[in-house]
Amino acid sequence: MVFIRKELLSAVTMTATTLFFMLGAREIEGEAAILPQILIWVMIGINVFQYALAIFRWQNDYDVFCLLLRYPFRLVGVQFLISIAYVLCLLPLGFYLSSFLYLLLGSLAANPDPLTPRIIAIRTAGSFAFVFALWALFSYGLGVVIPSFSLF
């Protein structure tokens, strides 16, 4: 079992972030490089202190994996995948149709009670009303050009 302390993981994250920007900053030259380079030095300095803090708090720090064990990965994972599908469908299906499907399917998938025809009917009507309100606000009210599915 690997144990990773929270403060140490924070310090490692800081290092990874700083390295990421350091690599990106190599291609920048001249005046445009000044602020990124100053910031990289600042980030390195803070990172050193964070490592010191991680060592100082080693005994009182808690294990990240112990916390993750209690996290409902399956529940969040399913909804997260539906959300990814929603973002991917936004342009092909249009914002309104994909939002309708996302609200309907997302809420049904996460419903804590067993699904009944009544729940599905109410949710469908509610999703339609919500998307209609969005259309009324954005497309009709504010005049924003929202990508839409041609049949919708």
């Binding site: 929270k6 993981l9 924070s10 994250t13 800081m14 972030t17 920007f21 990106g24 900053a25 920048i28 030259e29 001249g30 005046e31 445009a32 490089a33 000044i34 602020l35 990124p36 380079q37 100053i38 910031l39 990289i40 600042v42 980030m43 803070i46 990172n47 202190f49 964070q50 803090l53 996290y71 409902p72 529940l75 969040v76 909804q79 997260f80 959300s83 929603y86 973002v87 936004l90 342009l91 914002f95 939002s99 996302y102 609200l103 997302g106 809420s107 996460a110 419903n111 804590p112 949710r123 509610g126 919500f130 969005l134 954005f138 504010l142 005049g143 924003v144 050009v145 929202i146 990508p147």
Partner: protein, 509 residues
């Protein structure tokens, strides 16, 4: 005073009244929903400000802010979960009152106390901000810049995740602001994908940082069934609550004053104010044992204090550009979008907009009270939207809000990407407010004034100290090395103009 009187007719328009009413209702809803914070409410509404006049936009954001803070009491009292962090102290007496069959009284007490505290806080904002802004007129661009940097350090110092993480988040925010073509030399920086060429726009970043992590939290709690206490409406309770407040003058005064003082301090928030006032009132009471058992005075102490922080949190923001809270940081974004730069100019050049906003914020307290009292009767509808519906609805609002800023789908992707990064950082206790501040301050840091005021700049001791850091660089900003292609690179692409407008420097003008 003259400016205030001049602004009065501007506030009382049908549009402003309608916006005040709807924003108060929306803010109350967001505040009442556990998992939806006031900061997120304001962040989600920032895109709408593009389509409204500046005054109306600011009134809307202010009204949402104040109502969302007050609305947190609904779920704190009925669900024993604070809807907003500021309502933590309300948990000590609110749910106990509800369990004793006095939920309606607890809700009325909370809203009336919030109203009194909020009015006091906004009055302090109205009367103290202009003199402070007058003092700030002595500041040059560089002083204002370093004041803002000081603001970041104060906020990060007080942030919950720890000072180092807060400072790192601030630096990371500034680093993110450099993504895209440099405003100075036109060189590409950290353009890992063509969609990043024009940089990270403020609004998708605001929504991503503040809303996306909360959506994931809503997903986590989607199966949660909340046990909610029903509110049994009784006649005469409202009048009784108003009468009770006449006997709680001391608590109201203490809550309003301490809440105001804490609100002015950048980084301290409504939760600190609420807990501190509750503790003080309890200590000063002859019978402290009654607190925690369902006493209206406990609710009064907490709610008057947390809403009293709303107005004063805007004092350092409007006068010095230092946001007093994460929500104020988002409001700063709202101001910049309309070309309103915090500082003395707000009270001179843009006095019409600023004073109308201040009066609007004052009126928002009345709307909050009205909507709050009505919501108390129907609170079983207000705080009862389940998480399994809410997460999808909020995600959809995030998508539409990010997209409609510049009709660019890349903004939606950037919003989600930043949100996922913030989710990970948030789990490690990196705060989001310094990230946003860094993102706002980054372009300003690039346009430091020394190029134009080199000699004057070198004379100032503070700047001299901070100036020493880049002094030893071979390509110093004060002595830029001319290089080939400079002019060509400086040409701004047409699609970049709007983003640059959003990212223009508050202190460069």
């Amino acid at each position: 005073m003259e400016n205030l009187l001049n602004a009065l007719p501007e506030v009382f328009t049908w549009l402003n009244m309608l916006v005040l009413l709807t924003a108060s209702m929306g803010g109350l809803f967001f505040g009442a929903m556990p998992g939806l914070s006031p900061t997120m409410a304001v962040a989600l509404l920032v895109p709408f400000t593009f389509y409204l006049p500046p005054t109306t936009s600011l009134i809307m954001l202010g009204a949402v802010y104040t109502s969302a803070v007050a609305g947190g009491c609904l779920s704190a009292i009925l669900l024993s979960i604070p809807g907003a962090p500021a309502s933590i102290a309300t948990l000590l007496d609110g749910p106990a009152m509800a369990k004793n069959g006095r939920a309606e009284e607890a809700l009325y007490t909370a809203f009336i106390s919030s109203f009194v505290g909020g009015l006091f806080g906004v009055a302090v904002l109205i009367f103290f901000a202009p003199p402070l802004a007058e003092f700030a007129m002595r500041f040059g661009p560089s002083e204002l810049f370093w004041t803002a940097i000081f603001g970041i350090t104060v906020i990060t110092g007080l942030s919950s995740g720890g000072m180092f993480k807060g400072l790192f988040a601030g630096a990371l925010g500034m680093m993110l602001s450099t993504v895209g073509y440099s405003q100075i030399s036109g060189e590409p920086r950290f353009v890992f994908h063509p969609d990043l060429a024009s940089g990270i726009a403020l609004v998708p970043a605001l929504i991503g940082f503040f809303a996306v992590p909360q959506i994931i939290d809503l997903m986590r709690d989607a199966h949660m069934k909340l046990v909610k206490l029903e509110v049994k409406s009784q006649s005469g309770v409202l009048a009784k609550s108003f009468r009770q407040h006449l006997h709680m003058k001391k608590t109201l005064s203490l809550g309003s004053i301490i809440g105001t003082l804490i609100g002015i301090i950048p980084g301290a928030g409504g939760q600190i104010a609420g807990l501190m006032v509750y503790d003080q009132v309890k200590k000063m009471d002859k019978n402290p044992g009654r607190f925690g058992t369902g006493d209206p005075e406990g609710v009064c102490a907490s709610e008057s204090a947390n809403n009293a922080t709303v107005g004063p949190a805007l004092v350092p923001l409007l006068t010095l550009g230092i946001p007093g809270s994460p929500t104020a940081a988002v409001l700063l974004g709202g101001l910049l979008i309309h070309g309103l730069f915090p500082g003395p100019d707000l009270f001179t050049k843009h006095a019409d907009v600023t004073y109308t906003f201040l009066i609007g914020l004052f009126l928002a307290q009345f709307f909050m009270l009205l909507v709050g009292i009505l919501a108390s009767k129907y609170s079983h509808y207000v705080a009862n939207v389940p998480n399994h519906i809410m997460f999808a609805a909020v995600a959809i609002l995030c998508v539409f809000g990010s997209y409609c800023v510049s009709n660019n789908f890349a903004d939606v992707l950037i919003m989600f990407s930043l949100g996922m990064i913030m989710l990970f950082l948030g789990k490690l206790s990196f705060p989001s407010a310094p990230l946003v501040l860094g993102l706002i301050l980054g372009p300003i840091a690039e346009e430091l004034p020394p190029r134009q005021h080199d000699r004057q700049y070198r004379r100032r001791p503070l700047q001299l100290l901070l100036y020493g850091l880049p002094e030893h660089r071979p390509h110093h900003p004060l002595h830029p090395q001319p290089h080939l292609g400079h002019c060509r690179r400086n040409q701004v692409q047409p699609h970049q103009t709007r983003r640059r407008m959003l990212r223009s420097s508050p202190w460069s003008s």
